[in-house]
């Protein structure tokens, strides 16, 4: 056989004549991406992601179909090549419609594999569901009760009727497994012998400790309070989150080996320097525990409380005394929680004073509704301007009416006081719940931001000190619990990398393609689904619940869960972990929106019993067409049209079920993306086991 010699990335190679550059490179273990190349088929040269440089040629050439020639000098990786490959991928992405992951999953700050666990619940596998949830988020019983569920806002089921009750479903999974008596204790990596100090036993700290243990490290968790849970315990009333639920999930973390030291305050009982000396790494999850002042006259008057202070006190003592008339100032969940708690503690008249309208209230709509049902009065477009101790012994609050002006930086319309609308209100207590600040004053040496939060990388959790990591509210400012849980997990991955002496890159970020927000999505995705109403969460009657702190929401029945879970549309791509488009998009840091243009029309053919053809995902590599022509001899699929409208279609544009189906599995197998996919493939983005993430590498 005739042989030729050529240079590949500076190395002299002798190969058989007729060998393509791609084949020669692969034999040498050199990575060259390709979509359209398939060893079984003749070279096609259509995707052009496999381009390489040949000395003396102006253009880049496709390595899959260019044969190595005597004396040729080939380069397979350069700035220019990477740019071309990235452009190729970005062009394909601009003409590719679909979601890699369900929008619920990508909206969830913790990235829980929601379609995956919901499917398990639909099939009755509660434990499998819980394992998958805990892969990303170790507190489902807690969050299943209090999460503000951003995921449900993006649920595609909204295009049919209402979102899936995702939050309450994951509560069910957690409750069911606990009720079985055998908690799920995940497998740990072999011990590293390293010790990590975690400051703060709130959602961030608990999450960091949980995952650090899974990664083989030992944690000691310090907290200034007497019990674990942080804001979930001291900022959320027990009628929403019973305390034993917190204990249950903390117990798992203890079981994994974490040691807890309560009543230990940073800066008083321990110092950061000491922790750094005694431990191999430190994670700070301090939270945002400082009540934001109203900055009005008379704020210090007796009887004026902070929302967070009041909730903390009532959490420790459920027989706390409160006045008859209570005015809560603020519009967030803390304000609503404070108002409902005041009712339970015996207040007769509770009002919430908010300076904008109900529509602008940041509190969760269901909570506001529940508060109203319980008798809390909403007093909107009003704000306090001064508080005086009246001669009658009550608080005299001067209020002013507001109106809405132009939108401010947050996009909400700015409230403007109405001149001359001042008026007096007489109450027993004022509870100021207008937000919390971070108190990081005891972190000497750590760089803070101008908002006095810890200046840490939001993704990796790294700070200006190598050994110290931080996450949760103390970094982001007051935010929802699930965001803190996510920050704890991501920091755990970074800390693990740090402890192993690796470069701290944090959790790998995989490319995710999206069809867009719920408002932008092609409504055709909702076609073919019958309307099934969302399961309603059973609640205690109002009369009963305001008499005490019993949990208001009593949980779904099993039957309701199975039916609710079955409503899931299983968004996200079944090929997500095998898809080469996603893998290369990750590799080349591609941006879906770099080349923005007219989107492909959503076009699903699910006529076939076993296989779905999503034409909107097809990238025209032609593997299926050539396979069916060259090997199967069926001509079941072919190219149609031309230019940007060219499409791979079943013969004559028929439904897939009506063409020769011989060897259709081979077509599915050779589709580099999820355009042709088996129906019985699960939507399963993640493995349940939490492991040290390997850096992504295509193929």
């Amino acid at each position: 056989m005739e042989r030729i010699t050529f240079a590949l990335d500076g190395k002299k190679l002798t190969v058989a004549k007729g060998t393509t550059i791609l084949e020669a490179a692969r034999a040498e273990g050199i990575f060259i991406p390709t979509f359209c190349h398939n060893e079984k088929l003749k070279p096609f040269a259509s995707c052009f992601v496999c381009v390489v440089e040949i000395a003396g040629r102006a253009g880049l050439v496709p390595s899959c179909s260019t044969m190595a020639a005597e004396g040729m000098t080939v380069v397979t990786d350069s700035e220019r090549i990477r740019k071309a490959r990235r452009t190729c991928v970005e062009l394909l992405l601009s003409d590719h419609e679909g979601d890699c992951l369900g929008p619920c999953m990508t909206t969830c700050p913790a990235g829980i594999d929601i379609p995956g666990f919901v499917k398990h619940l639909a099939e009755g596998n509660d434990r499998a569901a819980l394992e998958l949830i805990k892969r990303n988020m170790p507190l489902p019983a807690v969050l299943g009760r209090i999460c503000t569920r951003p995921c449900e806002g993006e649920c595609r089921r909204k295009l049919v009727e209402e979102p899936i009750a995702i939050c309450q479903l994951h509560r069910f999974a957690a409750d069911r497994v606990s009720a079985s008596g055998v908690e799920y204790i995940p497998r740990k990596a072999p011990s590293s012998g390293k010790r990590v100090a975690v400051v703060g036993a709130g959602p961030a700290g608990l999450s960091a400790a949980y995952y650090l243990h899974l990664l083989g490290h030992r944690c000691t968790v310090f907290d200034m309070h007497e019990k674990a849970g942080g804001m979930t315990r001291y900022g959320i009333p027990s009628y929403r989150l019973p305390r034993e639920v917190i204990e249950r999930e903390v117990a798992v973390i203890k079981e994994l080996g974490a040691e807890f030291r309560f009543n230990t305050r940073l800066g008083v009982d321990i110092t950061l320097d000491r922790l750094c000396a005694d431990f191999d790494a430190v994670f700070l999850g301090l939270g945002a525990q400082l009540a934001k002042p109203m900055s009005i006259r008379g704020e210090e008057t007796e009887g004026v409380l902070s929302g967070i202070g009041f909730l903390g006190a009532s959490s420790r003592d459920e027989s706390l005394k409160i006045g008859r008339r209570v005015m809560v100032v603020g519009g967030g969940n803390t304000a609503v929680d404070a108002a409902r708690t005041a009712l339970r503690l015996g207040a007769g008249e509770v009002s919430i004073l908010y300076r904008r309208t109900r529509a602008e209230m940041p509190a969760w709509e269901e909570e506001i509704h529940a508060a109203e049902k319980e008798g809390v009065r909403l007093d909107i477009l009003a704000a306090p301007v001064a508080i005086d101790q009246g001669p009658d012994g009550f608080l005299h609050v001067t209020c002013i009416e507001m109106e809405l002006g132009e939108p401010d930086a947050s996009g909400r319309r700015r409230p403007i006081p109405k001149p001359g609308s001042e008026h007096l209100r007489v109450v027993d207590n004022v509870i100021a719940a207008i937000g919390q600040d971070v108190d990081a004053s005891d972190c000497s040496g750590l760089r803070l931001t101008k908002w006095q939060t810890i200046d840490a990388d939001l993704h990796r959790g790294t700070t200006n000190i190598d050994k110290i990591f931080a996450g949760g509210d103390c970094v982001s400012g007051a935010d929802i619990a699930v965001t803190a849980v996510a920050a704890g997990r991501r920091a755990a991955v970074s800390i693990d990398q740090y402890l192993r002496g690796e470069k701290v890159t944090g959790e790998p970020v995989l490319y995710n393609h999206t069809m867009g927000r719920i408002t932008e999505v092609d409504s055709r995705v909702a076609e073919g689904f019958d309307k099934v109403p969302r399961a309603a969460m059973p609640e205690r009657e109002v009369e009963e619940r305001i008499r005490g702190f019993a949990e208001v929401e009593t949980g779904f029945s099993e039957a309701a869960v199975r039916q609710e879970a079955a409503r899931c549309m299983e968004c996200g791509c079944r090929d997500v972990n095998e898809c080469r488009l996603r893998s290369y998009a990750t590799e080349f840091h591609a941006d879906q929106f770099h080349y923005r243009g007219l989107k492909r029309v959503y076009e699903r053919d699910d006529s076939h019993a076993e296989v779905v053809y999503d034409a909107h995902k097809c990238i025209q590599c032609g593997n299926c067409v050539r396979l069916s022509e060259e090997i199967l001899g069926t001509s079941a699929v072919g190219f149609t049209g031309r230019g940007i409208s060219a499409r791979v279609r079943p013969a004559m544009g028929r439904p897939l079920a009506e063409v020769d189906g011989k060897g259709i599995d081979q077509l599915v197998e050779n589709c580099p993306v999820g355009a042709l996919i088996r129906k019985d493939d699960r939507v399963a983005a993640l493995e349940p086991e939490f492991k040290r993430p390997e850096p992504p590498h295509p193929e």
């Binding site: 040269a45 259509s46 253009g59 452009t87 190729c88 007219l598 230019g643 060219a646």
Partner: protein, 589 residues
């Protein structure tokens, strides 16, 4: 043919017919039926398309009179006065030895077009009378294929389809590849909008192409050929079919041509509407009955072409040069032109040009000579702004570069390409962003859809250009266009993709200020992009009412001899008022 009769020859090419030649022909036939005693014949296109239909009258003494712009009224006059009365009508005739005609014809060098508009393309005897098929006869008699290739190589002939590859070398590759079967193909898929050289040659002198192909087949060892002709050229197909039939009848095609062992036959394959089939691998796929999707080269067609056999593909004009080169010798051919571009080149002049049509000029002539001396400039008060060369693969050469010589390599330096010969002249009313958008629209529609960069990249470029033309352009659009253009150019499989960005790149190079005006000032100075311009009637208006009468939406008010006013709310910014105004009183705002 009776010596005692006058002969009248009617130009019957597609362009003549579109201009009304059939009607003229019909009137002559009617008069002959009524006893008019003349010889009636037809011919193809003389290239003077700007003054068609044309009729040539040859008197009994052989003197010729070329009548131009022949309307039905004029032909009746010509019949009465000239044919019957013997009194030529000088006012309607074009004197080829006078003024503009001298400029027009004097600078030309007709090799390919020599017979066009002179002979009857439907009669082989006319071609034979001009020395036709003598070249074929000679090479068959001498029977030295390699010598034929040497001759073609020595002539310096380069592919006239645009690529400019040496024809002789191409033949030699095919010759060197031994095979049981070889093909030659004539690429007559003249897809460039604005080009009509091949159509004219096929309609006006089909035998020259057939003879060239027969010589090429003999030289390379082929025995079968295809002419792949655009479906939009029905007359060309008809005349080719006729010519092939006549050549077979005379033993010039078929078995044992002219009694030699050489057998050769030609099939005409009609295209079905796909620009990309001008690319040779797509063309072959199309002949094989498949979608016209190009494949990577190598292997080149000379090695593995049609049905896997060695194949020589040249375009119409290239083949039509061959008989001349063989008859007159390589030296005569190579004596004309520049160092690396020999012979002549046919161009199709169109657009904002006074004397549009086909011209054949020696290589080395300047663009200015073609556009101003031969073409006569815009023919209006407006100045030439640029000339678009090479169609969708080419570029816009601005006026300041009109001293560029016609030479493959010189033209490339401007960013355009020699191309197949389309030249569309543009004046101040042409918006260069719109021109770029026009070409990108064309290429993205014609992209076969196989490769990523061409399929999606050209679409994204078009979307950006469309946005700019509609006043929604953003400052980052220009760098985005440049980036995409560069990458598509260097990362595409076939010529369509590799050259598709050229119209954008050249307009960005020479007319960047127009892009910037569109984006930053939301203004189209040419008055073409409707969202970015308005028209106003200035005080130069004399109240002739021409604009008001031509306005398609009747939104111009004004009495005769009074200043006219455009109702801006109803105006659709079509620019008709400006086009018709004889006083240049309509201004773009």
């Amino acid at each position: 043919m009776s010596e005692m009769r006058k002969t009248i020859v009617v130009g019957m090419s597609s362009c003549n017919i579109a201009a009304g030649a059939e009607k003229v022909y019909g009137i002559i036939r009617e008069k002959m039926a009524d006893g008019l005693d003349v010889n009636l014949s037809i011919t193809g296109c003389l290239g003077l398309c700007f003054c068609e239909p044309q009729v040539r009258v040859i008197d009994e003494d052989g003197s010729e009179h070329l009548y131009v712009d022949v309307t039905p009224e004029r032909i009746t006059g010509i019949i009465d006065e000239h044919l019957k009365g013997g009194r030529p009508i000088a006012a309607w005739a074009s004197d080829l030895n006078q003024g503009a005609m001298v400029k027009l014809l004097g600078k030309q060098r007709r090799i390919v077009l020599a017979n066009c508009g002179r002979i009857n393309p439907e009669r082989i005897d006319d071609y034979l009378a001009q020395g036709g098929y003598q070249a074929l006869e000679r090479v068959l008699r001498e029977n030295r294929p390699a010598a034929v290739i040497d001759e073609v190589l020595a002539s310096g002939l380069r592919g006239r389809g645009g690529g400019g590859f040496s024809t002789g070398l191409k033949w030699r590759f095919a010759y060197n590849n031994k095979a049981d079967k070889k093909f030659v193909i004539c690429n007559a898929d003249e897809g460039d909008p604005g080009a009509f050289m091949d159509r004219t040659v096929l309609e006006s002198d089909p035998h020259a192409v057939l003879e060239g192909m027969a010589i090429g087949a003999f030289a390379t060892g082929a025995d079968e050929a295809y002419i792949y002709c655009r479906a939009e050229y029905p007359l060309a197909v008809k005349r080719l079919d006729l010519a092939i039939a006549q050549a077979r009848e005379r033993g010039l095609l078929g078995k044992s041509i002219l009694g030699t062992p050489f057998s050769f036959d030609i099939h005409v394959k009609e295209g079905a509407g796909a620009f990309v089939c001008g690319e040779e691998t797509a063309l072959m796929a199309s002949i094989e009955g498949r979608r016209g999707m190009p494949r990577i080269r190598p292997p080149f067609p000379a090695e593995a072409g049609l049905l896997g056999k060695p194949t020589t593909i040249n375009n119409v004009e290239t083949w039509a040069n061959i008989p001349w080169i063989i008859r007159h010798g390589a030296a005569d051919f190579a004596a004309q032109g520049t160092e690396k571009s020999k012979g002549s080149k046919v161009f199709a002049l169109a657009g904002k040009i006074k004397r549009g049509g086909l011209v054949e000029v020696p290589m080395g002539i300047t663009l200015d000579e073609i556009i101003h001396d031969i073409g006569g400039g815009t023919g209006s008060k407006r100045q030439v702004k640029a000339v678009q060369m090479g169609g969708p693969s080419g570029g816009c050469v601005p006026r300041q570069l009109f001293d560029t010589r016609i030479d493959y390599d010189e033209v490339v330096k401007t960013g355009a390409i020699m191309g197949s010969g389309g030249m569309v002249v543009m004046d101040e009313t042409t918006c260069m962003v719109d021109v770029a958008r026009y070409f990108l629209n064309f290429t993205q529609l014609e992209s076969c859809g196989k490769c990523t960069f061409c399929r999606i990249g050209t679409t994204r470029m078009l979307e950006i250009l469309t946005r700019i033309c509609h006043g929604r352009g953003k400052p980052e659009d220009i760098p985005m266009l440049e980036d995409l253009a560069d990458q598509i150019k260097h990362t595409s499989l076939c010529g369509l993709g590799q050259t598709a960005p050229n119209p954008v790149l050249t307009t960005l190079r020479y007319f960047r200020d127009e892009y910037e005006e569109h984006i930053h000032e939301k203004r189209c100075r040419a008055g073409k992009c409707r969202d970015l311009c308005s028209f106003e009637i200035t005080d130069r208006c004399v109240g002739c009412t021409l604009c008001a009468r031509n306005c398609p939406v009747n939104c111009i008010a004004g009495a005769s001899k009074e200043l006219h006013v455009i109702d801006q709310n109803r105006c659709i910014r079509c620019g008709v008022c400006r086009d018709v105004c004889p006083f240049d009183a309509v201004a773009v705002r």
